[in-house]
């Protein structure tokens, strides 16, 4: 084993200091993974730029820092979190607020809805539904190479659990709001498990917010099982402040004939890394991976996508677009793996970026590994400026240059937004993106939390 770096050592120490408390708080099944996971983390460490998958992202800025050790919120904080309402006009969603990675303790921790859907705390579900959790937990987050996934498995104790039974079409989306709020600098991890059984339909919205100005580091893992013939949509809206770092690893496993989409909308945040893993684990499955990111000042946004075509006749699409201003930086890494048996694969990838200044920087890297021969794959990446011809066209109709630039940026971004199927959310995203492009957005405009 190679020497453990100082940064990695911090988190191993954090584990050692808190493992007893963590074990007490968590269910035995979740605890059973910790030892092996911390060993793997010790071996792999906090990723550095020497790791191919983190080549363009320097995590040390946030990882090499003294954070308050694991933080279990108190009742009064939860009461405040429960007051939080995201009032996206007309968005009829079942809302859940996670505070610093913990499911609220008030009013019970696991709820059954009339259609048979269960929503609640993962920790609670592991006790109540051991067979379900054992079937799916830590099955899809199998990244051998990313130490941070193992760090999450080693230390996470709670998060959201959602179970959609066979044949249930959930009309109302579920919205999980991740709030981070603390007096000091904190590090938190949560773990979500979403199970959509066969023939089901389900939409999940995850909003990442920070509410107080400290330095925050979040390392979250979400595992999703999408059963045969099921439809699953994930929309992630990230709106955090400049001293917050959000690392989210999302693993979507699909069975045959299923359709799953992931849409990462990054509006604001200091350092954001989204790793999205799509595993096409059955024939004729379809996956869509979308992303829009808007960065300015010193922000850094890194999207890493891994699409694994493990079965024949599956389709995948990747569309990621970014607008970077000031000295913001971004990275896109899109991997398409077509395994030897995955004949009849269709896989597409596109990444387009606009740099508004000479100092903004974007690294983009397609990575296609194709081991089957009957395959149609395409990829394309562009990095450019706003088109002068288009600008003149708008100006020639009387629209001033500033407004014309905004319209073009908005149009560029809208191609990603239009993939959101829920109209109210799509319109809200249009508005938020416009506000963001105008430089007016610090957080969702109608956020109820006053702080």
């Amino acid at each position: 084993m190679s020497a453990v770096s100082e940064v990695t050592g911090r988190y191993i120490d954090l584990y050692k200091e808190n493992i007893e408390r963590l074990t007490d708080l968590s269910s035995p099944y979740i605890n059973s993974f910790r030892q092996e996971a911390i060993e793997k983390f010790t071996e792999l460490g906090v990723p550095t730029r020497k790791d191919e998958a983190y080549k363009y992202t320097n995590l040390n800025v946030f990882f090499d820092h003294e954070y308050k050790s694991l933080f279990m919120p108190v009742e009064s904080d939860f009461a405040k979190a429960e007051e939080f309402r995201c009032d996206v006009a007309d968005l009829d969603a079942q809302g859940i607020v996670l505070l610093n990675g913990f499911y609220p303790t008030l009013n019970g921790k696991l709820h059954r809805f009339p259609n048979g859907v269960w929503i609640g705390s993962l920790n609670e579900a592991a006790v109540k539904f051991p067979e379900l959790v054992e079937k799916h937990y830590a099955r899809y987050a199998q990244s051998e190479k990313d130490g941070l996934v193992h760090l999450n498995t080693a230390m996470a104790s709670d998060g959201v659990f959602i179970y959609v039974p066979e044949g249930v079409h959930v009309a109302q989306p579920v919205q999980v709001v991740n709030l981070v709020q603390a007096d000091g600098d904190i590090f938190n991890q949560h773990r979500n498990l979403i199970i959509a059984e066969k023939d089901s339909e389900f939409t999940l919205i995850i909003c990442d917010h920070t509410l107080s100005p400290g330095k925050f580091l979040t390392n979250a893992v979400t595992e999703v099982f999408v059963g045969e013939n099921s439809h699953f949509d994930l929309i992630r809206v990230q709106n955090e402040h400049n001293t917050a770092c959000k690392i989210s690893h999302t693993f979507i496993h699909q069975e045959k004939n299923s359709v799953a989409s992931s849409n990462n909308m990054t509006l604001h945040g200091g350092l954001i890394r989204n790793s999205t893993y799509h595993h096409l684990g059955g024939e004729r499955a379809e996956s869509n991976s979308y992303g829009l990111f808007l960065g300015d000042k010193f922000q850094h946004i890194d999207n890493f996508v891994n699409v694994d075509h493990a079965f024949p006749n599956c389709t995948s699409n990747q569309l990621f677009k970014g607008v970077l201003d000031d000295v913001a930086t971004g990275a896109f890494n899109g991997r398409i793996l077509v395994r030897p048996d995955a004949q009849g694969t269709l896989a597409y990838q596109r990444n387009s970026n606009i740099l508004l200044t000479d100092d903004a920087k974007m690294d983009t890297k397609p990575q296609l590994e194709i081991y089957a021969d009957d395959v149609k794959c395409s990829h394309g990446a562009t990095i450019g400026q706003l088109d002068n011809e288009s600008l003149f066209y708008l100006q020639s109709r009387g629209i001033n240059k500033r407004e014309a630039r905004l319209m073009l940026m908005f149009g560029f971004a809208h191609e990603v937004i239009q993939n959101i199927k829920i109209e109210a959310l799509r319109e809200r995203m249009d508005n938020l993106v416009m506000q963001r492009l105008r430089g007016e957005l610090s957080r969702c405009a109608s956020c109820m939390v006053k702080c």
Partner: protein
């Protein structure tokens, strides 16, 4: 309304316009014809405010103001409209949003408040009928996926929405079949009033069967080499441009 006096423009050090003089009065339709590469589109672009070269001499005065000092958007708000030879596709920007922004910018310039949503839609509907543009086109992104004819009709539609004082149509007829040509020309004729003017740039005489010009100019090698009434267009259609070229060369020799 518009006085161009000895205008000279160079692009990348090459002289494209070599001294153009032209006066347009309210209510007039001027046709500018000429072979490829003579500078017609450059003239249109320079009048509309496209920054594509260097003005090396001459002046352009529009209602007493120095037009060349005005930004493209200000020229538009003062009533200049350019119908593009190749209209630009702008994905993600809806026609409605585009036109609403443009119309309200024009209104603001005139000291008027923005149109209400219903008034705006009513205006859109009226103008769409005027140019026989398909209703669905207005719900799409600007020019995205439009056919050549639809793009040109869309230019006329935008012109109808913005009601310019001086419209410059840059080869609006190119690539149009005879039906689309008639629709475009009818649109222009419906917009035409006693106090607004047109500069119609075209290769062919056929557009001028529908839009009757008061004056026809021939632009060749960066200069207006001939100006006459509408009968000049017919003569050009019949004889081509060679005789004009010869005349010019002879004049230079003389």
């Amino acid at each position: 309304m518009l006085v161009i006096d000895n205008l000279k423009v160079a692009i990348n050090g090459k002289n494209i316009l070599k001294g153009i003089s032209l006066t347009v009065k309210p209510g007039e339709i001027h046709a500018i014809m000429g072979p490829n590469g003579s500078g017609k589109s450059t003239l249109a672009a320079v009048l509309a405010g496209r920054e594509l070269g260097e003005v090396t001499g001459g002046t352009v005065t529009y209602y007493g103001k120095n037009l060349l000092e005005m930004a493209a958007e200000d020229r538009a708000k003062e009533g200049i409209f350019l119908g593009f030879q190749y209209p630009i596709e702008i994905p993600g920007v809806s026609m409605v949003n585009f036109m609403k922004t443009a119309v309200n910018e024009h209104r603001k310039h005139k000291g008027l408040g923005p149109l209400s949503a219903s008034d705006f839609l009513k205006l859109m509907r009226e103008k769409k009928e005027l140019v026989e543009i398909d209703s669905k086109l207005a719900n799409r992104s600007v020019n995205e996926g439009f056919s050549g004819g639809e793009k040109k009709k869309n230019e006329i539609f935008q012109m109808a929405m913005l009601e310019p004082k001086l419209a410059i149509l840059d080869e609006t007829d190119s690539g149009l079949d005879i039906d689309a040509l008639r629709i475009v020309a009818n649109g222009v004729n419906k917009i035409k009033r006693d106090d607004n003017s047109f500069i119609v740039i075209t290769h062919y005489q056929r557009l001028l069967d529908y839009i009757i010009p008061d004056v026809v100019h021939v632009l060749y090698d960066g200069r207006i080499v001939k100006t006459a009434g509408k009968e000049l267009a017919l003569e050009l259609e019949e004889k081509g441009y060679d005789w004009i070229k010869k005349e010019v060369e002879n004049n230079i020799l003389v």
